[in-house]
């Protein structure tokens, strides 16, 4: 017996919404999905008319759907935004080069300008080269730190007012869990915020319009809209520990489908006890980027790479910051500890 759409009660339902369990027809699902993103944008006042917004595009499902929906909503509701695509080329052969092809196709389909910034031009290192020196363990640290800054630099080059990223509800919930497991109270407090407040110069505000969209619904949306996206895991990412949190979240979702939203609700309502030490935001004394230490992570990592001591930025070596700043050589003992890991 065909199930009727619970929204229009006319057409045949083609899917069961992972988020609410309702059966919907294709059109009603599209409408609901887009409308929800719109409500999120309006309720959180993410954009102002006339702003230029960079969409962080990786070619994956989240950013592809984000680009599609942003363009659609911008026209449907006259946001008055100028949209652009912004991509980072980490220099991973067999992964990013392929996904960037998808982004380039998206650019033509959506007729949006595209800017690609590469690690090579910004840092002089591609991820391929970094992995050659660092090994497969810990390389995600480099990639993650560099990408955060690369997006900002790209945004400044494009002169955009804001960046929006494709983080979905699953990502946010997973991060809440991760930060609890790591005991990272500062990030636990920040991670559910839908947009970053103006953090200082050289940092472009970011927001997550898909914050309340389930990953499964994003895939459903892309599937039924026949959107062109690239779905391969990065060849360098083992991501062991985060994998536990991810599996746990998926299991939770299967026990109670609202779990993802429940966790975000929890995260939004946490409050940190007074008197708990929080890292103070300052600026990097070398590059001027935001940093809670004398040197920003990206500069430390880069220094490590350039000195042939890749472990310099892995783990905590704040004591060495002074030495790096004053360009002093490290002692032999220190060097030995920071040499590449055998694998």
């Amino acid at each position: 017996m065909p199930v009727l759409c619970s929204s229009c009660a006319e057409k045949r339902a083609v899917l069961k919404r992972p988020k609410t369990g309702h059966s919907l027809c294709k059109e009603c699902f599209f409408w609901a999905f887009e409308e929800e993103v719109h409500q999120t944008i309006v309720a959180a006042k993410l954009f102002k008319p006339g702003e230029t917004v960079g969409i962080a595009a990786s070619g994956g499902k989240d950013s592809t759907v984000l680009a599609h929906v942003m363009k659609l909503l911008n026209e449907r509701y006259n946001y008055g935004l100028e949209l652009m695509l912004l991509s980072v080329d980490e220099g991973i052969t067999g992964y990013r080069d392929d996904s960037l092809e998808t982004v380039k196709r998206n650019q033509q389909q959506y007729e949006l300008p595209l800017k690609i910034v590469s690690y090579e031009e910004l840092y002089g290192w591609t991820m391929d080269a970094i992995v050659k020196q660092v090994g497969l363990k810990n390389n995600c640290t480099f990639c993650g730190v560099f990408r955060r800054q690369a997006l900002d630099r790209g945004a400044i080059m494009l002169k955009v007012d804001k960046i929006c990223t494709g983080h979905n509800a699953d990502d946010v919930a997973e991060t809440v869990l991760m930060n609890v497991l790591r005991g990272d109270i500062a990030r636990l407090r920040r991670c559910t915020a839908i947009s970053t407040s103006s953090e200082g110069e050289g940092v472009v505000p970011r927001c997550k319009p898909l914050k309340y969209a389930y990953e499964k619904e994003i895939v459903l949306y892309a599937y039924f809209k026949k959107l062109d996206y690239f779905s391969t895991e990065c060849i360098y990412s083992p991501n062991a520990y985060r994998g536990y949190a991810r599996t746990f979240l998926k299991d939770l979702e299967s026990v109670r489908s609202s779990s993802i939203m429940d966790i975000i609700h929890s995260g939004e309502n946490l409050s940190v006890r007074e008197g708990i030490k929080m890292p103070v935001q300052g600026t990097c004394s070398r590059c001027g980027y935001i940093s809670s230490q004398a040197l920003c992570k990206s500069c430390v990592l880069l220094e490590g790479l350039n000195r042939g001591l890749p472990k310099l930025g892995i783990g905590k070596h704040h004591r060495l910051h002074d030495k790096i700043l004053s360009q002093q050589p490290l002692t032999e003992k220190e060097e030995r500890k920071l040499k590449s890991v055998e694998f």
């Binding site: 609410t20 009603c28 299991d251 299967s254 940190v272 006890r273």
Partner: protein, 511 residues
Amino acid sequence: MCQVEEDYRDELESVDVPSISKKCVKCKEASAAVVIRAGDAYCRVCFKEYFIHKFRAMLGKNRLIFPGEKVLLAVSGGPSSCSMLNQVKEGLSQNAHKKLRFRPGIIYIDEGGAVGQSVEERRRTVAELQGVFRATGFLFYVVPLEQVLNLPSSVVASAPAPPEHLSSAYKAAVDRFIQSDGSSCLTPQDKGQTSLPEVHESQTQVLQQLIASAKTLTAKQDLLNTLRQHLLVHTARTEGYSKLMLGDNCTRLAVKLLTSISLGRGAQLAQDTGFSDSRYGDIISVRPMRDYSAKEIAYYNHLFNVPSVFIPSLDTKTADKASVQRLTESFVIKLQADFPSTVSTIYRTGEKLQTARLSSSTADHCDRCLLCMCALDTAVEEASALQATLISEQLSQTTSPGATRTTTPRPNRAPVEPESSAPTGQCCSSGGQEHCGRAESGGGCCSSAKGPEMTNLRSLLCYSCQLTIKDMSSVEHLPQYILSEARRRQRRSQMREEISEFLLDGVDEGV
């Protein structure tokens, strides 16, 4: 996502090779008997000293339990609460180094009826526990969970404000205690127990119906926790205790913290897992076992023959994915096996949190959840997970034909508002009360009013308790004290609505 250091291995996975040296790390003389953590090998004597000191230190540091105060120990029969009982007994004994100075009593809640144990099984368990309790010489109460059906609604009504705790008050209490020579309270006044209330089979059935009305094990467990808590608080109140001691250990609390987050109880985390919990006002719960890991307790109980009794619970012998609570437990335990600092890291995260939104002094009792008695966390901003979920539900349901598409569906800002409380209120409160609670399945007035009653109830609940109620087939099986308090609150808020234009800002009589 936003964080980048993905290399947790080094930090969290410390290699735990037990130190080969067989000497105790403390006295460095006796040979080690237990390894608590990697590298920490203790001999029997030093381990006992360490364990006992930890208990006294926890109580001493927090200074919440006054000398001479009556404290009710909630003992479930499990290793943790039995160990707590053992510590209290140890601390009160004449030869204790730093004597504890409060007056203990024990309470055991027999949940056999909810779990589905036979009368015979329940009797056997109770008998076994009574043996343990008698050996302590403390006063004890064995209360069947069925009694929760007869609670007065004062349990979930406005809780009296907690007494002010000042350090001067503590000192004064100490002085008073010393003057009165303190001996009177240490001798167990009236040994034994209050008479064991008979459980009627019909009551067990009502209780079972209530538990069965929760469709998921997650909701069943949550409901059972709530009922147990109410019964504990009520017994403490009627028997004149002002503190309730719970046996939650560090491992348990880490699981509880992650469970709470997964169930949407972020705002209540600090109360759910902190040392003290004052949500019931006059009765304060404390968790003195929170610094012990389950492993330490197991070692101690084993080495020093602390008896405990195995009692099955709702999730005994269920699969990992049977409920959110069960899944979280197995996740934490498994992760702990690979990364030995998991439990302590989660636990320490909890230490850094506090109860949200409690700072506003206007948080009167109407703003507390009907079930868990925590401050409501449902008055959220427009951009929030709760609003997003409501919008999703609204957009996925039939809208009146015609009025669609072109107009942007505005989210009904507060579906949590009592929209149609009138019909239910009238029907049920007008004398039909017993009839309502007693589940005359499909009985006229209530079954028709079931829908609105359910939605009305939601407005009185916190986010997480709403989820539990959502998982229930009907709310008519809820105990009478909850339903009548719900109706009372609804009437109050209706009244408030009517006279709202004459009320001045800031003047809030609350209850």
